[in-house]
Symmetry: C2
Subunit: 308 residues, 2 copies
């Protein structure tokens, strides 16, 4: 018996839309809950531009829903909701759950898995990080620009057969995926990139190439990365300093990439400040880590968010 | 004999234009060198709106110059040039100097007096800080919004008779002025305000009221002030913590004030980053002061400056 037999993706925007489209392309049974584009996608299908190959899904292949009440119960709920909408977890996810349904959050930052566990029990929860550059171009049109690796695992144990099954499913759908034993470490690994580039991108209105393209910006990004690595170390997630150059190298291939947070600020939409800055800061402070740069970015972004 | 008998103000923009206009209003012999508005002011005079009383100076009262070569030699040169134009010191000031002429810099930040001393000898140099909110509305139209105190003194000695004479001249021209013995301490005092409010204003595009008007922005501004005070302490300039609340109180009366650096960023003009951030950072680092917030602002602003 194959598990999962069916999947719902909750809050499928650029990221959930792309991964969902890849699963659909590979004949998996997927229901896409979309907050803004459901009607358009139900009528017109999905158009994907991807460095791993462009493709389109005609409307008869895509089941897109504005309302979760009409989605059947599923084996696996994948959450790609913006973390600023986590207050809707209960309403959006409860109708989809069977007794043994699993929930995988691929959301940015920290705290999403904990919030899901508080509502639905830690036993159900898996978490993963998508190292990927994806933008929504317009309704039903998604552009996958660079990278794409997902690392996922159980929230509260080493990888289980179901974690491996999900990794297998994604890997067989042109989505590189690894099951890992320590998702918290994976989350901090992603924060080493997200904190400097989402933060500076949104604060200063700069694409990634503008930040790393001159010595001052590069030094700034690296000093923030160093602070995150040092706090991670206090939390027992050890990263070698070589991670910094690795991530800078990965950033070089992205070109003039606009992080989601920079886009959110430009469009005066809520930014994922708590998940990417607030929650890591609070966790680090509990471990007596001093993070003045993170704290400054957190406060600056909070200030900008309230302005809007 | 009254000293100074005549005065030239170099780089008279909003600040130099206002103080110059006050001196002219009180019958002092003043020559205004203006980088952009000389022709307009020579033809139309100056219009001053001030919380200490509005007034206008007709063109026959104002001697405005685009070129310093036509200004006579003077007893006192007051420098209100933007510090990003300090490379022009030699050309702009040399023609105005007699053997015993004094030079008073009222420019923002640190390093201006040192640069003047390197060119003209420390013996000539006085420095002062203007605690004032002034904007140029348009050519020949200046608005003095709030405050106005100048604290000035000798660069390399306690206050001298000439420092007292300048303070007396300004005080008798509706410009509150104090002669002080330690101008370096005065400069750090002003930086306690300039670093947070110019920095956050330019980085985040926020007027002063938006920064102090909510708890997050207020906490952020205070944490930056605390860092500056702590570095000042290592440099032997001790400020009590009560300075913070005092300066916040002064900021409250300013309303929606746009710092010069925020305006410069909006207009894509060079920002005074080295004087307000770079030079203080380097001086603090030489005294082993750790200033992560200042360093982050310095790098962020440098990055934005290069973008333009």
């Amino acid at each position: 018996v194959t598990w999962p037999e069916n999947i719902a993706i909750i809050g499928a925007g650029a990221l959930g839309g792309y991964y969902g489209a890849r699963l659909i392309q590979h004949e998996y049974d997927v229901h896409l809950h979309m907050r803004s584009d459901a009607a358009h996608v139900a009528t017109n299908g999905l158009q994907i531009e991807s460095l791993d190959g462009d493709f389109t899904l005609p409307p008869e292949k895509v089941r897109a829903y504005e309302n979760v009440e009409t989605i059947p119960k599923v084996d696996l709920v994948i959450v790609t909701l913006k973390s600023t909408a986590n207050g809707e977890f209960r309403n959006l996810i409860t109708p989809l759950l069977k007794d043994d349904s699993a929930i995988l959050t691929l959301q940015n930052g920290l705290g999403n898995d904990r919030q899901l566990a508080e509502l639905f029990g830690a036993r159900r929860i898996l978490a993963g990080n998508a190292f990927v550059c994806i933008n929504r171009i317009t309704a039903g049109h998604i552009r996958h620009l660079d990278h794409g690796l997902i690392r996922l695992g159980e929230m509260s144990s080493p990888a289980t057969p179901r974690a491996l099954a999900i990794a297998e499913m994604l890997s067989s759908s042109k989505v590189p995926c690894q099951a890992i034993d320590n998702v918290a470490a994976g989350q901090w690994d992603k924060l080493i990139w997200n904190i400097p580039f989402n933060g500076l991108g949104a604060m200063l209105g700069l694409t990634t190439d503008k930040i790393i393209g001159n010595p001052t910006g590069l030094a700034l990004a690296k000093s923030i990365m160093r602070e995150v690595i040092s706090a991670s170390g206090l939390l027992k997630y050890k990263f070698p300093d070589s991670v910094i150059d690795q991530k800078i190298k990965h950033t070089e291939t992205m070109g003039a990439y606009k992080t989601s947070m920079q886009i959110d600020r430009e469009l005066v939409r809520p930014m994922e400040i708590e998940a990417i800055f607030g929650e890591p800061l609070r966790i680090a402070q509990r471990a007596d880590a001093n993070m003045p740069l993170l704290e400054m970015m957190y406060r600056s972004l909070s200030l900008l968010d309230r302005k809007s």
